[in-house]
């Protein structure tokens, strides 16, 4: 029997190695897999390369992972935000490497990896700093730059509902990078609001088929949007001792 569901966040993020490339879904905080990121902080993997559209907001989630100095390099399109002070400080101190990618090129590089495409030509970034030094080709009279597929060892994403085969549906615009990251990573780990019985998801509405998913963990909906202070019990950890500790 296929059962991709796991009972705790600790099991969900088990085995993520130091030096791994980890894709993290979300656009700002919409669709950010906040519980999985907290679990990754607790798990302790370091020297990570993180792929996300942004570089963390406030002091929680991805920003907390950065603040814990677990990230060697971030690949993103828009690190600078009103509340990106953690990244800003690390970048100014030269303590984090940044690979800046136009957002559509980032999405397409991720999509390409999931589809087995090694690289592609695009006119985006031609004549700019972000296209400088890249192989170019004239296609139909227009200059294009060569962009390589972007794959990952792990993807951490958030969806709304899943079944035990790992079929996923998302909620509103929180879908964003989830489906393409799920396909681009060797091991895709998903936090969901609800796990439903096999057959309960409308097959016409499944967005990410389970073939792309390795592990699914349910995060009860009462999870607050901002992480609790370190060490404080959190409802999504389950009964004492049953879940992963944040501290």
């Amino acid at each position: 029997m296929i059962d991709k569901t796991v009972s705790t966040l600790e099991v969900a993020v088990a085995g993520i190695e130091d030096g791994a490339t980890v894709m993290v879904g979300g656009f700002g905080t919409s669709g950010i897999p906040a519980a999985l990121i907290d679990a990754l902080i607790a798990q302790g993997a370091r020297d990570l390369t993180v792929v996300n559209n942004n570089a963390g907001n406030g002091d929680h989630g991805l920003a907390a992972l950065l603040a814990a100095r677990r990230v060697r390099k971030i690949v993103c399109s828009f690190p600078r935000q009103v509340d990106s002070w953690v990244f800003d400080g690390l970048w100014r101190a030269g303590a984090i490497e940044l690979e800046l990618v136009p957002q559509g090129t980032l999405a397409e590089r991720i999509r390409a990896a999931g589809a087995g495409i090694g690289a592609f030509f695009t006119p985006t970034a031609v004549g700019t700093e972000l296209g400088a030094g890249k192989e170019t080709r004239l296609i139909d009279g227009r200059e294009h730059v060569l962009e390589h597929a972007l794959r990952a060892d792990y993807a951490l994403i958030r969806a709304d509902r899943a079944d035990r085969w790992g079929n996923l549906v998302y909620r509103k615009a929180a879908r964003n990078f989830g489906p393409i990251m799920a396909a681009a990573a060797a091991c895709t780990i998903v936090e969901v609001r609800e796990i439903v019985p096999l057959g309960a998801l409308d097959p016409e509405a499944v967005v990410t088929p389970g073939i792309y998913v390795k592990r699914v963990v349910m995060i009860p909906p009462e999870r607050p949007s901002v992480a609790s202070p370190q060490g404080a019990p959190r409802p999504w950890d389950g009964p004492a001792g049953a879940g992963v500790g944040a501290a």
């Binding site: 905080t29 399109s77 800046l100 136009p102 559509g104 700019t128 700093e129 972000l130 964003n176 489906p179």
Partner: protein, 214 residues
């Protein structure tokens, strides 16, 4: 004669007036978001948001925000009847594949050739962030820029050649400023409209590049 500069809302209304019934439109962060408030009610115009929304509606009433439904500026929005959600690669395929009819962007500078600079000042201590700017400028069928005509220091933001890092080359079709509306043409910049009290000669002097009268 006193110059009557276009207000930000007047600029937005001029952009909105130029967007046709049935158009699929992406409004950039900042000044361009004002355009949404001025779209004619008798036209169906579909707003695209880069994070995977077509049919984006206005901000919800206070207390009804849903942070799974936000715009590119990460502010809560709504979905209109007929709207749809899709993933990021699809969303950018709409831009990069030439399916977006009009995008409206802010800018630091636009050159006579329609080169656009709007993503990075190039200052050594500035954290670079590009987002979807290059994809939009490169892929949309028509690129409209909204910006103040002059910098705070009085220098023209319309230039012979960019001094800021480019976003995309030869991409801008029309420029809406507080002083004028100009088309980028192979023959140079053509003035469509001037603010009250600004003569053609004065506009050309302030802009610092040769202009053509409409």
């Amino acid at each position: 004669m006193t110059v009557k500069r276009y207000s930000r809302d007047e600029m937005a209304a001029k952009v909105a007036r130029d967007i046709a019934e049935g158009a699929y439109v992406n409004l950039g962060i900042g000044l361009p978001t004002l355009v949404a408030n001025h779209l004619p009610r008798d036209r169906e115009i579909v707003l695209h948001s880069e994070n995977g929304i077509l049919g984006m509606g206005p901000a919800p009433a206070a207390g009804h925000e849903d942070m799974d439904l936000i715009n590119a500026g990460k502010q809560a929005v709504t979905l209109l009847a007929g709207g749809a959600y899709f993933h990021h690669a699809d969303s950018f395929a709409m831009m990069r594949g030439g399916h977006i009819d009009v995008c409206v962007l802010g800018a630091f500078q636009v050159s006579v050739a329609g080169d656009l600079a709007n993503w990075h000042t190039g200052a050594p201590d500035a954290i670079p962030a590009v987002g979807g700017a290059m994809d939009l400028a490169t892929g949309a069928k028509r690129v409209y820029v909204m910006m103040e005509h002059l910098t705070k220091g009085g220098e023209s933001k319309i230039v012979a050649s960019l001094t800021y890092p480019p976003t995309a080359l030869a991409c801008v079709d029309r420029i809406y400023t507080d002083l004028a509306v100009l088309d980028v043409t192979p023959q140079g910049l053509r003035v469509r409209e001037r603010a009250e009290g600004v003569s053609f000669d004065e506009l050309e002097r302030l802009t610092g590049v040769a202009l053509k009268e409409s």
